[in-house]
Symmetry: C2
Subunit: 159 residues, 2 copies
DNA sequence: GCCGGTATACTCGGATATATTATGTCCGAGTATATGTGG
DNA sequence: CCACATATACTCGGACATAATATATCCGAGTATACCGGC
């Protein structure tokens, strides 16, 4: 089990965009040099965020990405789901119905097995935590230097 | 993000072993035909459970695996950790310290970033749920037919 | 009939391949800007 | 000097390679059983 790096990248980029504000978009190569990340692959992750409606992209020579909603309306869960996909981490393959001498149409199999129930409940608790934190919460939780650095860098790279 | 199938297999096998009882061990090939799983790979997963102290293995012609502790002393978290490994799912690579014009020795970097904190908290909630459920809980949550089928199959395959 | 030695069949355990997924790269379509030109 | 057409540089977006990991397989070391021969 392993959360892809794109999640971390996406969260940091969203936070950066939140600090910069909506005045003008930031391009993927700029964000990549920002964090020393491979530009093309970061672009791929940002595209996923656009498809999820978290970011909005504007093409053109001064285009780039910006937040599609206000920071208080974007949860960490939204970003994680956008990058990782909506499927649950634990996927029951119903091996309890396999093997010799088992009737898959038995009524006991109408309900999910106890193992799946526990795993789903745990994953729900995980999602609940992530859904309870918005980008606005992260902004206030981070040290002030982080916001300053973001805005400073923005002015710097903007030229 | 995706939990490996070995977790599901390990949990089902542990539950089966709990129902069968400690009177005699069950071999990996037998458990494999049980659930129609690849025997060698299932063996690999069971070995991980042995290394974690969840199962005890006995070699020899009538050997196999059995629970090393009582079902009430084995949590779902134990099994998941044994199969998936102890590392957290989210691994912060500290990209906040990367990029031009950042001093990695700045005091603000002594504390983990807000993103990592949220991800860790969520993962902790996930682990807490899994640690709160033992094999004994699963046994009582499952329908009675499951326990019956396990014992019946055990007698059947034992010959 | 009983005991000891031996061969055997079955077990786990780790080293070795393959498949799938995540990571990384590349190039084309499109757009706002800057430039040059004519009026 | 102003308006317009055009060329351009930069953007996103998706199709195409590579690397890492999960999945699957194989074979060797070891042990309890079963068998066989001797006493």
């Amino acid at each position: 089990m392993r959360i892809s790096e794109g999640v971390e990248w996406g969260l940091h980029c969203c936070l950066t965009l939140a600090w910069i504000g909506d005045d003008e978009p930031v391009s993927a190569p700029r964000l990549a040099t920002w964090f020393e990340l491979p530009p093309a692959y970061l672009s791929k992750c940002l595209q996923a965020l656009v498809r999820a409606g978290i970011l909005s992209s504007t093409p053109g020579v001064r285009g780039g990405f910006r937040l599609a909603r206000r920071p208080a309306e974007i949860t960490v869960m939204d970003v994680v789901t956008a990058v990782e996909g909506p499927e649950p981490a634990f996927r029951c393959t119903e091996i309890r119905q396999q093997g010799p001498g088992v009737d898959p149409s038995a009524p006991e199999f109408r309900r999910p097995c106890a193992i799946t129930a526990v795993m789903r409940r745990a994953e729900l608790a995980w999602r609940r935590e992530l859904a309870g934190q918005t980008l606005a919460d992260l902004m206030s939780a981070a040290p002030p230097q982080a916001a300053e650095r973001a805005q400073q860098r923005h002015r710097l790279l903007r030229g």
